[in-house]
C-alpha cells in the first residue's frame, strides 16, 4: 500500500511537473518572444533609415517591407491564437520609424496576450479544416515566420557591410 502510494506520488510528480510550476510552456513562449522582439528590433535598428528601401534582388521585399511583414504577420498569428483581431492595420509606411513602431506594437500584443494564457489554453484547437491548429502552433508559427524573415533581413545588413546583431533565442 505504501509502495503504491509512493509510486502514485512519483507518477504524479513527473506527470504534473509542467502543471505544478505555474505555466512553464506559456512562460517559455513569453521568454522567447521577448528575446525575438529584442533581436528583431536590434536588426531593424542596425539598418540606416536611408537603406530601408534596399532589397537584395528585385523580386524581394525591401528591408522596410520585411520589417513590416514580420510585424503584421506576427500580430495575425497571435490574433488567431487569441481568437481576436490584430491591432495593426494595413502597413503602408515602410520607413524605419514606422517599422520599428509596428514591430514594438506587434510583439507587445503577442506577449501581453501570451501572459493571459494558461498551459492548458495552449493546447486548444482553433480554426477549421486544413487551417486547424493549436494555440501553441499559432504562436510558434508566428515566431518561426519572424525568424524566417529576420534571417533574410540580416543578409541585407551583410550586403550593406553591416555585421548583424548577435543571434539570441
Amino acid at each position: 500500500m505504501k509502495i503504491a502510494a509512493v509510486l502514485v506520488a512519483s507518477v504524479c510528480y513527473i506527470g504534473l511537473a509542467f502543471a505544478q510550476d505555474g505555466h512553464p510552456m506559456v512562460d517559455a513562449l513569453v521568454k522567447h518572444y521577448q528575446a525575438s522582439k529584442e533581436l528583431t528590433l536590434a536588426v531593424a535598428d542596425a539598418m540606416p533609415a536611408e537603406n530601408y528601401s534596399f532589397k537584395a534582388t528585385d523580386a524581394e521585399m525591401s528591408f522596410g517591407e520585411q520589417m513590416n511583414h514580420i510585424a503584421g504577420a506576427n500580430a495575425n498569428y497571435c490574433a488567431a491564437g487569441l481568437e481576436t483581431k490584430s491591432p495593426l492595420g494595413k502597413l503602408d509606411d515602410a520607413s524605419k520609424a514606422a517599422a520599428e513602431k509596428n514591430i514594438n506594437a506587434a510583439f507587445d500584443f503577442c506577449i501581453d496576450g501570451l501572459k493571459k494564457l494558461t498551459d492548458a489554453g495552449l493546447t486548444k484547437v482553433t480554426g477549421t479544416g486544413a487551417r486547424q491548429a493549436t494555440v501553441f502552433e499559432r504562436f510558434w508559427g508566428g515566431f518561426t515566420h519572424t525568424a524566417h524573415h529576420r534571417g533574410q533581413a540580416e543578409v541585407y545588413l551583410r550586403l550593406k557591410g553591416i555585421t548583424p546583431p548577435q543571434y539570441k533565442f
Binding site: C12, L16, E154, T163
Partner: protein, 168 residues
C-alpha cells in the same frame, strides 16, 4: 476509499502528462518533419557547383550552412540525452554528400525527439545558453534551423533561384 482516491489521483496525473506529452512532443515532431522537408528542398535547389558560394566573405558557404543546421540536432539534444555531442561531418562538401548527411542527421534527430519522455522535456539543463528546459531546447533547435535556412535562401536568390515556398 483511500485506494479509490489514489486511483483517481493516478488517472488525473496520467491525463495531464498524456495531454502535455501528446501536444508538445507530437506537435514538435510534426514541425521538425516539415522543417526537414523544406530544408531539403532548399538544399536541392542550389546547384552542386554553387555549394561553395557565399554572399559575403564573413559568412558560411551554402554547403556549410546546410551542414551546420543539420548537425546542430546533436548539440540541442545532447543535454536531454546526457550525452556529449558528436562532431558529425558529411563525406565531402559536394551536394550529394551534404544532402545524404542532412537526411541522416534530420532523421536521427526526429527519431531521438520522438523517444523523449515528459520528464526529459520538463527538466532544466545547464548549458552554454544558460538554463534551458527540454522544451526550450527543442524550440531552439527549430529556430536555429529557420535562422540558417533563411540565410541560405538569400544565397539562392543571389543565384537567380526563387526559393521553395515557405512551409511550417
Amino acid at each position: 476509499m483511500r485506494k479509490l482516491s489514489i486511483v483517481t489521483a493516478l488517472f488525473a496525473a496520467l491525463a495531464v502528462s498524456a495531454f502535455a506529452e501528446i501536444d508538445v512532443k507530437a506537435t514538435i515532431v510534426k514541425h521538425l518533419k516539415t522543417s526537414r522537408d523544406f530544408t531539403l528542398k532548399v538544399a536541392e535547389q542550389m546547384p552542386d557547383a554553387d555549394y561553395s558560394f557565399k554572399l559575403t566573405p564573413a559568412q558560411m558557404s551554402f554547403g556549410e550552412q546546410m551542414v551546420h543546421l543539420a548537425s546542430s540536432g546533436e548539440y540541442f539534444l545532447s543535454p536531454m540525452l546526457g550525452e556529449k555531442p558528436k562532431e558529425l561531418k558529411p563525406a565531402s562538401m559536394k551536394k550529394a554528400d551534404v544532402i545524404a548527411f542532412m537526411k541522416t542527421s534530420f532523421d536521427a534527430t526526429i527519431d531521438k525527439v520522438s523517444k523523449l519522455t515528459p520528464a526529459q522535456l520538463t527538466k532544466t539543463y545547464e548549458g552554454e545558453g544558460g538554463k534551458q528546459t527540454g522544451f526550450d531546447l527543442l524550440l531552439g533547435l527549430l529556430d536555429h534551423t529557420t535562422h540558417h535556412r533563411a540565410s541560405a535562401e538569400m544565397y539562392l536568390r543571389a543565384k537567380g533561384i526563387t526559393p521553395a515556398e515557405y512551409q511550417f
